[in-house]
């Protein structure tokens, strides 16, 4: 459904954030994109949504295809209209609007009645923000904001939903709620998902396929189970050593070098 071919992305025409990345998200699947801080994950999502120019970023080469159609260079609005929505990193709510207005804006490209249905769904998913619906979004707690951000994207009835660290700042229970919702939407309405997540454990349980990106390049990819059993992944992303979850108290003061052999 979504395909990136040899994408190279530069900020300010000088800083190379992403190099030669190709990835594919098949219709109806959940794909995880993992990687350390500054690896270029958010950059890739911004590129897909067409909002890189806001930060002086530019796709220097390569192409992005949605359903075989080229969307690199298209207006963000057209991309949204094609059913591709994103939950951006750091929530990016409309701080001065109320919770409900935020959600309604999520349904901006949809009809009024679809938006009204959407509201019910979202409130059903996150009762906590229903309590707060007339409150100005900027004053919500971090986790509440994250719920609104996810809810807002769902309002647009995405065919392909991209989530940039949805579990960020959420209490464990809520994380479960969100991931259950994602799995449910994926199963029931065949919503395709591209998931950027730091909680690799959860991501690799949810996704069927995963990519690992470091320093702007894809270093490893494969079906989720296969990644889960990779030594490096276990060591650096899952926090296991020798098959056992290790306590952070015992983390060694030296680090093993990554080799990325699979």
């Amino acid at each position: 459904m979504l395909a990136l071919n040899n994408i190279q992305i530069l900020y300010d025409r000088a800083i190379e954030a992403v190099r030669d990345v190709s990835l594919e998200v098949a219709q109806g699947t959940i794909v995880a994109l993992l990687g350390s801080n500054g690896a270029g994950k958010s950059t890739i999502l911004k590129a897909i949504s067409g909002v890189l120019y806001q930060e002086d970023g530019e796709i220097m080469s390569g192409s992005i295809l949605l359903d075989g159609e080229r969307i690199s260079g298209a207006a963000p609005r057209d991309i949204v209209c094609k059913g591709l929505l994103q939950v951006p990193e750091g929530r990016a709510l409309f701080a001065t609007l109320t919770v409900e207005e935020n959600l309604l804006m999520g349904g901006f490209t949809r009809s009024r009645s679809e938006a009204a249905d959407g509201l019910d769904t979202v409130y059903g998913l996150f009762p906590r923000i229903k309590e707060r619906r007339t409150q100005v979004a900027g004053y919500l707690s971090g986790g509440e904001q994250q719920m609104v951000a996810v809810g807002r994207a769902l309002m647009g009835r995405p065919r392909l939903l991209m989530l940039d660290e949805p579990s960020l700042g959420l209490a464990p229970q809520i994380v479960d709620t969100i991931f259950e919702a994602i799995i449910k939407l994926n199963a029931e309405s065949a919503m395709t998902v591209l998931l950027v997540e730091q909680n690799a454990q959860l991501a690799l349980q949810t996704a069927s396929y995963g990519y690992i990106i470091e320093n702007g390049r894809i270093v490893l990819d494969g079906p989720a189970e296969k990644l889960r059993s990779n030594n490096d992944v276990q060591e650096f992303y899952l926090g296991f050593s020798g098959g056992e979850r290790r306590s952070m108290r015992d983390v060694k003061h030296y680090k093993r070098r990554k080799r990325w052999l699979s």
């Binding site: 949504s49 067409g50 909002v51 120019y53 806001q54 002086d56 207006a75 963000p76 609005r77 949204v80 209209c81 929505l85 994103q86 951006p88 990016a92 709510l93 409309f94 701080a95 001065t96 609007l97 207005e101 935020n102 309604l104 804006m105 999520g106 901006f108 490209t109 009024r112 100005v136 900027g138 004053y139 919500l140 807002r152 994207a153 309002m155 647009g156």
Partner: protein, 290 residues
């Protein structure tokens, strides 16, 4: 007629002028975050265009506005396309500066097209004095107050309830997020400029009908700026109310204290209000969550 009543009435008239001009400002600010330094010039230009329409076709007020408003909106659109849209995604200060440059250009163009001589322009409004509650008014003055009332109500309803109105506030709140939910930011900007130009033309024509049409009309833009702030930068209604407040205060001060304290009194009141309410009468507080 009572002196006080007279001052209040004339205060409302000049306040309505401030308020109308300020609303145009606030609309663009609210949806784009840009302080349009060319707002006064927009007011002036549209008034001159209306003047030409008036002298060519000899229309009365409402038909005149019926022609003027669409033309003004077209101008708003053209300006947005030509000057503002290419700056999309650039730092807000750069865009503000573009409006400063634009102001210079519009001022020059107005003088080149119409010359520096001022004109009498009654905009098809009768000039016979009418008396209301013992206070004499020119009809154009009543039109000015009326226009402010109507536009304030319309503006409030639009921003509060229409999806486009909410979208405008959304764009101002977070441009990237607006893009990500499929709001076309450039379209919102275009609409803001068109509506603002429409308001500007109404303000300009009525201002000129009351206070003559001259190429220093642009300065009223700067004069109305305090109203925008007093009302609260992001509140369209606020600018209308604040305009009236400033108008009345200025006139009362002039009437009872005098000695050129007119402007100063307005500013002093603003400073005092801002010390108590740092975000104006109706503005919302900056949201600072840490």
């Amino acid at each position: 007629m009572d002196f006080l009543l007279l001052l209040l009435a004339s205060g409302l008239v000049s306040g309505a002028a401030y308020g109308l001009i300020a609303m145009g400002f606030a609309l663009i600010f609210k949806s784009t975050g840009v302080v349009n330094f060319a707002q006064g010039e927009l007011v002036m230009l549209t008034a001159y265009i209306s003047f030409t329409l008036y002298s060519t076709f000899d229309l009365s007020f409402f038909p005149l506005m019926l022609v003027t408003i669409p033309i003004s909106m077209a101008i708003g659109l053209v300006l947005e396309r030509l000057f503002i849209r290419p700056m999309l995604g650039e730092p807000i200060f750069a865009i503000v500066m573009v409006t400063v440059g634009l102001a210079v250009v519009l001022r020059g163009i107005t003088i080149m097209a119409w010359g520096p001589d001022p004109f009498n322009f009654n905009a098809g409004i009768p000039t016979r004095v009418v008396t209301l509650g013992g206070v004499p008014f020119y009809p154009a003055q009543l039109y000015l107050i009326g226009a402010l009332g109507v536009l304030t109500a319309a503006g409030w309803a639009f921003l509060r309830f229409s999806r486009m109105g909410i979208a405008m506030r959304a764009v101002a709140a977070n441009e990237t997020a607006a893009l990500l939910v499929g709001i076309s930011v450039s379209r919102i900007h275009a609409i803001a400029w068109m509506l603002s130009a429409a308001i500007a033309s109404i303000a300009g024509v009525l201002f000129a009908a009351n206070f003559k049409l001259a190429p220093d009309l642009w300065f009223q833009g700067l004069r109305a700026f305090p109203a925008v702030i007093l009302g609260g930068m992001d509140s369209v209604i606020g600018s209308a109310v604040a305009g009236l407040v400033i108008g009345v205060i200025e006139n009362l001060f002039q009437g009872y204290v005098g000695q050129g304290l007119r402007e100063i009194s307005g500013f002093i009141v603003i400073i005092i209000v801002l010390m108590v309410r740092p975000f104006g009468l109706f503005g919302s507080k900056d949201i600072e969550r840490v």
